[in-house]
Amino acid sequence: MTVQAPGGAPALAAHDRRVRRRLAILLLLAAIALCGFVLDVSTGPANLAPGQVLRALLDPGGVGRGLASIVWDVRLPIALLALGVGAALSLAGAEMQTVLDNPLASPFTLGMSSAATFGAALAIVLDLSVPGVPQGWLISVNAFLFALLSAMLLQMLARLRGIAGPETIVLFGIALLFSFNALVALIQFVASEQALQQLVFWTLGSLSRASFDKAGAVALVIAVTLPLSVASSWQLTALRLGEERAASFGVPVGRLRFFALARISLLTGTAVAFVGVIGFVGLIGPHIARLLVGEDHRFFLPGSVLAGAALMAFASVASKIIVPGVLIPVGIVTALVGIPAFLAIVLTSGRRG
């Protein structure tokens, strides 16, 4: 079967314009994330002008030691971790929404955060963890291990041939969510007042324990997973047209879903381990990217990364200025920052028609 000679130069030109516009939107998103980052470093009890911050970042020796210390030791780790966690959760959410064919999927739909919370609760309340882990990393390591454990349970389910459609995986994830929530409640019930307070604080999600090590670990995980995600972008896009159709295009759907879930668990486990439960970014970041650049995953995945990073940067800024002098847990603020941004984009893209 052959198809006729090609035509349609105007249509191709329009397609190329669309591609260029999407690249421009990605650059704009990157610029917004960068602005959020600089603003994040500038905001705090000692109010700094963005110009001062930029000087301190680019030339630490050329500014006063106090300024350099505030920027480099206190604020930079927080701002970097905010970018990294936002990017990681949003990328995980984007892949999850695609491979589970569910716009409500996010790293939290599958109970990964609840599992991480349970791991953290074991460490905080019962002091249970893996032997040999330094005291300062107990909570993070536990949270990470339990997030991975929940992901592995899902993977085992997904490998069961003939049973594991996307709906089954989502249902199983919700079951995990409630199971781990119940276990966390049980631990809370027996916890001392002090441990309970610490656990509640952890579940609110906070950037206050940020360090360069943690930011580096998140960056490393993104550096490993993002190229793999982007390399699968045609296959992931095909999956949006339906599992059967994608398979008929030659996409190995089962394998694609397996590796996507592996990336998702690594991204989520790492992010949640360091900052606790931050709910909204993994859900809304991908939706913002979808509205702005569509679902060609070559643009959608980087768009989700940038939208998530920008959201978290501005959420981090808001967490410092809502109550002056008080650092509100950033998990509380993400929805407050994310919802107006999301609504604004929904409304304007609707008008564009």
Binding site: G8, F249, G250
Partner: protein, 261 residues
């Protein structure tokens, strides 16, 4: 050994066999075959099994090559499959939705993919809508976009699962005449249809499926007999032709026990 030959094909879901050791031989290149039969006869299952989308045993031999033994890449280069269901709520343009069909796996050939996409879209008369969002098309147009996705790799075997179900009369005509012209270019087209008049009008051969097995196979006028209507669809009916040769159905009673005239 050109053409398509199916031998001993069994397929189903979760241990429930829907198609049972089905044989279908003598489907020649350049022809359209309509798969017809009542609901749950196994038409779509047979199509999916041929496309390699569900586990199946037996053989599906195309031009001397067993399709069931091929890997995904090789299979997708030889078979175009148009599922019954249409994607919904997808933020892709029509152009992108066809481009991805070409790019999602290897073995797509060397010609400029963008030119091939435009050629496929022109073929189904959607060239002017290439940059429209898929979601903004009518049901009929989305079905045509789905057809373009299935033909963009220029497959030798094209499997269409109820391609006319959402279409008005004009679009039904358009899709079926397109299937014909694709076949006339040398391929094999197998199309699941509920509309027996469409089958009689457009297909060279009609294969009637009943309870997962082949009930009859041949030219429509030989196959759609009162006996086949009675034991397959449980109706008293027959295929008629107008003086100009246009087929129509004469169905006048329901019930398996109704004896054919």
């Amino acid at each position: 050994m050109s053409g398509l030959r199916i031998r001993g094909l069994s397929a189903g879901y979760r241990g429930r066999e829907v198609v049972r050791s089905l044989d279908l031989e003598g489907i020649a290149p350049g022809t359209v075959t309509a798969l017809v039969g009542p609901n749950a006869a196994g038409k779509s299952t047979l199509l999916r099994a041929m496309a390699g989308l569900i586990p199946a045993s037996g053989s599906v031999v195309l031009d001397g090559e067993d399709l069931l033994a091929l890997d995904l890449d090789a299979r997708s280069a030889r078979i175009g499959f148009m599922p019954q269901s249409l994607p919904h709520r997808v933020s892709l343009s029509v152009f992108e939705s066809v481009l991805v069909a070409l790019k999602a796996s290897g073995g797509a050939g060397r010609m400029d993919p963008r030119a091939r996409v435009m050629a496929a879209l022109d073929r189904v008369d959607l060239g002017d809508l290439a940059n429209e969002p898929l979601d903004r098309l009518s049901g009929g147009q989305r079905q045509l976009a789905s057809l373009a996705q299935a033909i963009v790799r220029e497959p030798r075997l094209l499997l269409l699962d109820e391609p006319t179900s959402a279409l008005d009369l004009g679009h039904q005509f358009a899709v079926m005449s397109m299937a014909r012209s694709l076949a006339e270019a040398g391929g094999i087209v197998i199309v699941v249809l509920h509309d027996l008049v469409l089958a009689a009008r457009w297909a060279d051969r009609v294969a009637v499926l009943r309870r997962g097995a082949l009930r009859a196979f041949g030219p429509a006028d030989d196959v759609l007999t009162p006996e086949v209507f009675a034991d397959t669809w449980a109706v008293r009916g027959r295929l008629m032709r107008s003086p100009l040769g246009v087929p129509y159905l004469d169905v006048d009673a329901i019930g398996r026990d109704t004896p054919p005239e």
